[in-house]
């Protein structure tokens, strides 16, 4: 146990614990040996409320036996379990160890369940109600913090149910995304684009790609500026899943909708990260999660499968 900042405190605790037990034992021994004269009326002599007297009855002897048992138990406990400063006890018991044991036990119990799931293809697994219930719990515990408990995300966190994928929606790609995580980086492009007016024109052109409300004159002026964007977003802004560049021609606006949001993105860029789950989740869990996430946007397939 390394909870002590200084070895002194370990000794301090040990001395107090053992000293306390020793003092109790000593007190017990002294009281057991004590013999004194009995008072004439068997009271302590204290009187309250005119006639209320305190009797001076002896304690039953078995009670002393309980005290002795307590001391024996206390010493035994301190030998077996950690209690004396940094002494670990003969059982080497620790809360960390208990936790690991509980996790190992649960994993051992779940192993056959996951083994059966791992043997199935993602498309097949997505139709298994039991597996999807497991997947839902895994999702709520590990993914819902960002993507929301209904997996529909929010600003900055992708919606996983709409069939629009930044990095690809095939089972293999989803599996890769969960396992290794993703970093989506959009560099600041203001300098490459030009003046503030140019940026504004470009933003209107981007809006025009999805037929969103825009200034068509500015859009026409901004079109030529899109060349620098097309490197990643592709000609016509259809996106590129290989580099995680979003499709700008649909009506999904992950980082905000409208001219101002687009200008801010062009000027400032954005780095968006999905953390890798490898090491946090087992391969089998990732497999089930892949099926769950895949199933979210492939409802027709899963319903047909059922």
């Amino acid at each position: 146990m390394s909870d002590f900042v200084n070895v002194f405190w370990s000794h301090f605790v040990t001395v107090i614990a053992l000293g306390g037990i020793l003092a109790c034992a000593l007190l017990l021994w002294l009281t057991a040996r004590f013999r004194g004269p009995a008072s004439a009326d068997n009271t302590t002599g204290h009187v309250w409320d005119e006639d209320l007297r305190e009797m001076n009855n002896p304690m039953p002897r078995w009670w002393m036996g309980l005290f002795v048992l307590t001391i024996v138990f206390g010493i035994g406990y301190l030998v077996v379990f950690p209690g004396l400063g940094s002494y670990r006890g003969t059982l080497a018991w620790s809360t960390q160890g208990e936790y690991e044991k509980a996790v190992d036990k649960a994993n051992a119990e779940l192993a056959p369940v996951y083994a059966a799931y791992s043997a199935q293809a993602v498309e097949k697994l997505a139709t298994d109600a039991g597996a999807m219930a497991v997947g839902e719990r895994l999702f709520l515990n590990n993914c819902a913090q960002c993507h929301g408990s209904d997996a529909r995300g929010s600003k900055g966190f992708p919606n996983l149910t709409d069939g629009d994928w930044l990095h690809g929606g095939t089972p293999e790609k989803i599996h890769e995304t969960i396992t290794l995580g993703r970093i989506g980086a959009m560099p600041p492009m203001a300098e490459a684009v030009g003046s503030a007016e140019d940026v504004k024109n470009l933003a209107n052109y981007v809006l025009s790609l999805s037929d969103s409300p825009h200034d068509s004159v500015r859009a026409g002026l901004g079109k030529s500026k899109f060349t620098v964007c097309a490197a990643c977003h592709g000609i016509g802004g259809v996106g590129n899943q290989a580099v995680g560049a979003p499709n700008l021609a649909d009506k999904i606006w992950l980082h905000g909708y409208g001219q101002e949001a687009i200008i801010a993105m062009i000027n400032g860029g954005k780095t968006n990260q999905m953390p890798a789950q490898q090491g946090r989740l087992t391969e089998a869990q990732i497999h089930v999660l892949t099926a769950y996430v895949w199933g979210l946007s492939n409802k027709t397939a899963t319903v047909a499968g059922q």
Binding site: R35, A38, D41, T43, P58, Q145, S149, D150, Y257
Partner: protein, 477 residues
């Protein structure tokens, strides 16, 4: 005849004088209560039968497909006949405890330690164990002799047999107790196939040992030294509480009158012949003639014993009887005593107790077998979705407290245009709870920016009640 002098209100109990020095601890002196039959002994046995029939029998009752009374701690479901209770229903346990406490107050105010003397498990099991002891080892005298005798084959057989029976009763009690928490038939099968879980074995042995130790050895010492009820019940007595009392004025001075009617009339003695039967039958080993003592559990066995003697002596019964301090002092008639029993204190206790019982029952009967917890999604405050709608996401835990599959319809209210945009009907398995993600949508601009109080109305399709839970809908600036 002279007017009988009322006894002093409080008598300091004289204790046997000890010569020389005493220690701080005293060895326990075993008590060998004499068995007695009579009115109160029969009442005690009736209550033994009633309480044990319920305790040992209840786990074997079935209700539909399951055990009628089962406290499933693992699944956190408590089945009580037709009821399925969740941990959230703890209020009913609180209610039950309040009712129990008030009943204790009421009974104690009326007739002292009725609970201790008749219904307490400590009393009941001690009585059962003493009965076994008497059947095997014999009467009080035989038992005392057996204990003081040197070791013999007879002693070994009797003692061994007694402990085997005691331990069997103890283990059966432990088994029954565990059967309230694990289905008892399964537990029995597991036992027969020697595959009981280690915790089940531990608790059966634990409660078995507790029964064996408390009823076989600790007995009155539990009441005298360990039980908190025993101590504070005495504080709820008043001078109109019926307690087991010795009629000092009638009984003293003690002594056996001379034979013959004329001689008896001239005898200087009271009605107590100092036979000490009342002391011998006492399960806590006290002498009731010394007045009210904290050891007295109010079992009334000394009343039975004394009445038998009074019958033999052809003197009226009731030298020891249930009487109030006021009635003793004022030589009241039974009618006067009963009138004082209905004093304000008792009436108030009764009224409060009755109100609580009615309230508890009414709330159980009218209880909605459905519970809903609402948790707002922490990740997204609000989002704008297609069709110019503002969307908030919640997780609802829907708890089905019936034993049928239920379909619940979720609706939202509190803001104009607010509606549920996710699947509004949810199916929950019997006695299960389920988390569902629910999305609420509001047309953009329908409410000003800020947080708005809204309600989830969850209603079981086809009756069985509805629940309205408060939540918050956020509209961003």
């Amino acid at each position: 005849m002279t007017e009988p002098t009322p006894p002093k209100p409080r008598t300091v109990i004289p204790i046997t004088a000890v010569d020389g020095d005493v220690g701080l601890y005293a060895a326990h002196k075993k008590i060998y209560p004499r068995s007695v039959s009579g009115y109160f002994a029969r009442w005690r046995w009736a209550l033994v039968a009633a309480t044990q029939l319920v305790f040992y029998g209840l786990p074997w009752l079935d209700w539909g497909q399951r055990q009628a009374v089962l406290f499933d701690l693992g699944a956190r479901r408590f089945f009580l006949f037709g009821l399925v209770l969740y941990p959230q229903d703890l209020i009913y346990l609180t209610g039950l405890l309040v009712v129990s406490a008030l009943s204790l107050f009421l009974f104690t105010a009326v007739a002292g330690r009725l609970w201790c003397g008749y219904a307490c498990p400590q009393t009941v099991y001690t009585e059962i164990f003493m009965w076994v002891e008497e059947k095997i080892e014999g009467s009080r005298i035989a038992r005392m002799r057996l204990d003081s005798d040197a070791f013999s084959a007879e002693k070994l057989v009797k003692k061994w047999f007694k402990h085997v029976v005691w331990i069997s009763i103890g283990l059966w009690t432990g088994f029954t107790f565990v059967g309230y928490f694990t289905p008892i038939r399964e537990l029995g099968m597991e036992f027969l196939q020697t595959r009981m879980g280690s915790w089940e074995v531990f608790w059966v042995l634990f409660y078995g040992f507790a029964t064996y130790g408390n009823a076989g050895f600790m007995r009155e010492q539990v009441c005298k030294y360990m039980c908190p009820y025993a101590r504070f019940q005495s504080a709820m007595f008043d001078r109109d509480t019926l307690i087991v009392s010795y009629d000092t004025a009638r009984g003293e001075p003690r002594g056996l009158p001379a034979k013959g009617r004329a001689a008896a009339a001239a005898s200087p003695f009271g009605d107590c012949i100092d036979c000490k039967l009342c002391v011998q039958v006492c399960p806590t080993g006290i002498d009731i003639r010394q007045g009210l003592q904290y050891e007295c559990i109010g079992c009334g066995l000394c009343v039975d014993a004394c009445n038998i003697v009074m019958d033999k002596m052809a003197t009226p019964r009731g030298l020891i009887r249930y009487a109030t301090q006021n009635s003793m002092a004022g030589r009241w008639t039974p009618r006067q005593v009963l009138r004082r029993v209905l004093r304000p204190r008792v009436l108030v206790y009764t009224a409060v107790l009755a109100a609580l019982c009615v309230g508890l029952l009414a709330s159980l009967v009218t209880r909605t077998p459905l519970k809903v917890d609402v948790v707002r999604d922490r990740a997204s405050l609000a989002r704008i979705v297609e069709g110019g709608q503002l969307e908030n996401v919640y997780r609802l835990q829907i708890m089905n407290a019936t034993e049928q599959v239920q379909r619940y319809r979720i609706e939202a209210s509190g803001l104009d245009g607010l509606h549920v945009s996710s699947e509004p009907v949810v199916e929950v398995a019997p006695a299960q709870s389920r988390w569902v993600a629910v999305r609420l949508q509001l047309p953009y601009g329908a409410a000003p920016a800020g947080s708005h109080k809204v309600y989830f109305d969850v209603r079981a399709e086809g009756g069985q009640g509805s629940v309205s839970e408060k939540a918050v809908f956020l509209v961003p600036r």
